[in-house]
């Protein structure tokens, strides 16, 4: 057993570092550092996405024939660590990680040809139409209906928590095409354009003042059946396939470690002598190390063709908690500067202060935003229910 990088790994790391050094300019990094929501503003991240696309790295985990790389799991890990370290923007992965793999796995040749290149290039921004006001953790109870009308569906209903719907041009949604049999049996997986008549997007503003989420209303929206993925009423299987990706997420150790390093700098600058903050910071560091090690163990299994298994729910559960604890301790580190509220967004356009002061002003907003980490993408309670079955065997 060992934790060492091979010579090839080192060479790859240096190659990634060179790429990032020339494609993550200071302004982009600052915008990322001053973004208090989970995702960066597409207006920022698109430039990075395009640079990745030019380099052939925008969808590294995809099969090569669709424009992916043939990276080893360790190379993916290195790439992630370096992106975090470089402060590269985080862009909406609904396309690259969710609907992309679904289209590859279940889509028609036409769908693959139409959608995959635009995901790769960043031309398309996808929103995810899953949750509904009455259907959160209990997804199968969804009510948004798609009624057949010749070659089209007529869609009526409402989706909620659609991340960046206001900045997306397409949406993939679970819709009800039948009310017979089991609730799961009547669900269809449907791709739609967001500019269709009858679609209204209403913003939902977070406690931290960020606009990440939206409600999307469908009022007799006519959309072609050619957007249907898989068979009618077989969408639930696809949804489960996709949820695997959402839950596991990509290896985010690098992102969290970068966030943690920022916390360490902030504590060093703001309250270097506070034993309570230092002790808590150390605890978070040991949590982070343990989770990174768990992630690497999964990688090691993947490298030899193994399967992560129930660990993916554990990773979602704990990574979201650790990220929250970092945001929370930052709040504790800055004393009464945390009282100040900045209403304007985005911060990177509305602030002109020394870097340290700007990052201080983002702390409270980010803390408030971070409370969603343990809710979005499968609540901690749902992850725990899953782990009770899969990990503990109850």
């Amino acid at each position: 057993m060992d934790l060492s990088l091979s010579a090839e790994d080192i060479a790859f790391r240096d190659e990634v570092r060179r790429f990032l050094a020339s494609n993550v300019p200071d302004a982009m990094r600052r915008a990322h550092d001053l973004t208090t929501s989970f995702l960066d503003d597409p207006a920022i991240s698109i430039h990075f996405h395009r640079a990745l696309d030019r380099r052939g790295w925008s969808v590294p985990h995809w099969p090569v024939e669709h424009g992916g790389t043939a990276w080893t799991p360790v190379q993916h890990y290195i790439f992630d660590v370096e992106c975090g370290r470089a402060g590269a923007p985080v862009y909406n992965s609904s396309g690259s990680h969710f609907v992309g793999p679904v289209i590859m796995h279940y889509g028609t040749a036409e769908q693959k040809a139409k959608y995959l290149p635009r995901i790769r290039s960043g031309e398309d921004h996808w929103a995810q139409g899953y949750s509904e006001p009455g259907s959160g953790s209990d997804l199968a109870s969804l009510k948004t209906r798609a009624d057949s009308d010749g070659d089209d569906y007529i869609v009526n209903g409402q989706k909620i928590w659609t991340t960046h719907a206001h900045k997306s041009n397409r949406i993939f949604a679970l819709v009800r095409t039948s009310r017979e049999g089991k609730r799961q049996a009547g669900i269809t997986f449907l791709l739609m354009d967001l500019d269709r008549p009858g679609i209204t997007v209403r913003p939902i503003i977070g406690n931290g003042g960020d606009h990440e989420f939206n409600e999307v209303f469908f009022d007799n929206v006519r959309t072609p059946k050619s957007g249907r993925v898989g068979e009618e009423n077989h969408g639930w299987e696809i949804a489960k396939y996709l949820l695997e990706f959402e839950r596991g997420g990509s290896v985010i150790a690098g992102r969290v470690r970068a966030q943690f390093a920022k916390l360490v700098r902030m504590v060093g600058a703001r309250c270097p002598g506070d034993p309570g903050v230092l002790a808590r910071m150390a605890e978070i560091g040991t949590d982070l190390d343990a989770m990174e090690m768990l992630g690497l163990t999964v990688l090691s299994e993947l490298q030899t063709g193994g399967h992560p298994g129930p660990i993916s729910s554990l990773l979602k559960l704990r990574w979201s908690e650790i990220r929250q604890s970092i945001c929370e301790l930052a709040l504790d580190a800055i004393g009464d500067d945390a009282l100040r509220w900045i209403g304007e967004r985005p911060l990177y356009e509305n602030l002109q202060l020394p870097q340290e002061d700007e990052e201080t002003l983002a702390v409270t907003l980010r803390y408030l935003n971070s409370r969603a980490y343990t809710i979005m993408g499968g609540t901690s309670e749902i992850q725990t229910n899953i782990l009770a079955k899969t990990l503990v065997g109850l």
Binding site: L339, R340, Y367, R371
Partner: protein, 378 residues
């Protein structure tokens, strides 16, 4: 020993409830705090009419001679209904200083417009860095310094400024538009307004020194303790509201065919929240009743309450959001506004950690650690 409300307490609580409940509108609250001036002068007038602005002041000063318990009853209602008007700044802090330090003449002159609702006060105390100093001049003083987080300063006509005089500290009455005074207002996370205040060679007449008192240190400490106790009652109002909202949500929100409240894992977490509310309420009561006790017991009760309630506030606001799920993280519900109010509570007048350290230093003395809460001294 008596820990029960008398009929006047109940009347005060009910009248506050009646007024504020009838006016509460979360959308209006959001508009109010997002805009200017960030408070409702009309509501302030009603406070005056109800006598709330004179509540703690002696009757000879035009007040109604209420005590800390009465203040805590109002403050809990303010926390429950997200009141952002500068009551704490004007009545508890500003008015409290004038009542404690001012001469009969000053009390009359300064409190009358406050009680009538015509003018507001703010206490500029925390120094941004170097201590604010007052230098004696022919016929008066010149004050220079930088104050931070001055609650209610943006809407205050009169600032009470603490400043060093040689070794001691005095409180000076300074019109907020006096030459050399710069008020830099900002909005706080809970929607309230505060300001940083710069004072550059502000020239004041000799009578500006409140009560002519050159050693106001202990009076200032007591007034701040009164403010912490009052603010703690406000926090209880917010905590109790978040707990109730979460319990109600859990009873009505149906997932997997049952209300959330039927899931035992959530039931136990709701109990933990309610227990924290009860403990926080008890700490707040302790702090309120300790204000008139001996100084070391008072400090222990105040620091202990701020630390304990701060810890409960953190846990409750986080759990309330988590158990609400996605909707709890948004402005769609008032829940977030209460969370932000509790975040502000944790920081004002010293953070939870700072007060925990103060409390720790007190009870590190075994004789104090061994002392029960009941004592001979009233």
């Amino acid at each position: 020993m008596n820990l029960q409300f008398d009929s006047e307490h109940v009347m005060l609580r009910d009248s506050a409830e009646k007024l504020l409940a009838s006016r509460f509108d979360f959308r209006a609250f959001q508009k109010l705090i997002d805009g200017e001036p960030g408070w409702t002068p009309e509501l302030w007038t009603i406070f005056a009419e109800l006598g709330w602005l004179g509540l703690p002041f002696a009757e000879e000063d035009g007040g109604s001679g209420g005590g800390a318990t009465e203040i805590s009853i109002l403050m809990e209602a303010f926390g429950k209904y997200l009141v952002v008007e500068p009551y704490l700044a004007t009545v508890v802090l500003g008015g409290g200083l004038i009542a404690a330090l001012g001469s009969a003449t000053e009390r009359k002159a300064l409190l009358e417009p406050v009680i009538a609702g015509r003018s507001r006060l703010a206490f500029a105390h925390d120094d941004a860095d170097a201590p604010t100093t007052a230098v004696r001049r022919a016929g008066g003083y010149a004050i220079t310094g930088a104050k931070k987080v001055v609650l209610g300063a943006p809407m205050a006509e009169t600032l009470l400024v603490s400043a060093r005089l040689d070794g001691t500290v005095g409180v000076f009455v300074v019109p907020s538009d006096a030459p050399g005074v710069i008020v830099r207002p900002y909005r706080m996370v809970n929607g309230e307004r505060a300001a940083d205040v710069d004072l550059t060679g502000v020239t004041l007449p000799a009578r500006a020194l409140l009560g002519g008192n050159e050693d106001a240190g202990s009076a200032i400490e007591l007034v701040i303790h009164r403010a912490i106790a009052a603010l703690s009652a406000d926090a209880i109002g917010a905590i109790a509201t978040m707990v109730r909202a979460t319990v109600d949500y859990a009873k009505t929100r149906v997932q997997f065919g049952q209300p959330l409240a039927s899931f035992q894992a959530l039931q136990h977490r709701l109990v933990a929240m309610k227990v924290k509310e009860e403990e926080a309420r008890a700490s707040s009561r302790l702090a309120t009743l300790a204000l008139d006790g001996p100084p070391d017991r008072r400090l222990r009760a105040i620091a202990g309450a701020k630390a304990k309630i701060g810890r409960c506030a953190r846990a409750v606001h986080q759990e309330a959001i988590q158990l609400h799920g996605a909707i709890g993280t948004t402005n769609e519900l008032s829940l977030g506004a209460y969370a932000k109010r509790l975040v502000a509570y944790e920081i004002k007048f010293g953070t939870t950690r700072e007060h925990l350290a103060r409390y720790g230093a007190m009870i590190a003395r075994p004789e104090l650690a061994a002392e029960g809460l009941l004592s001979a001294a009233g």
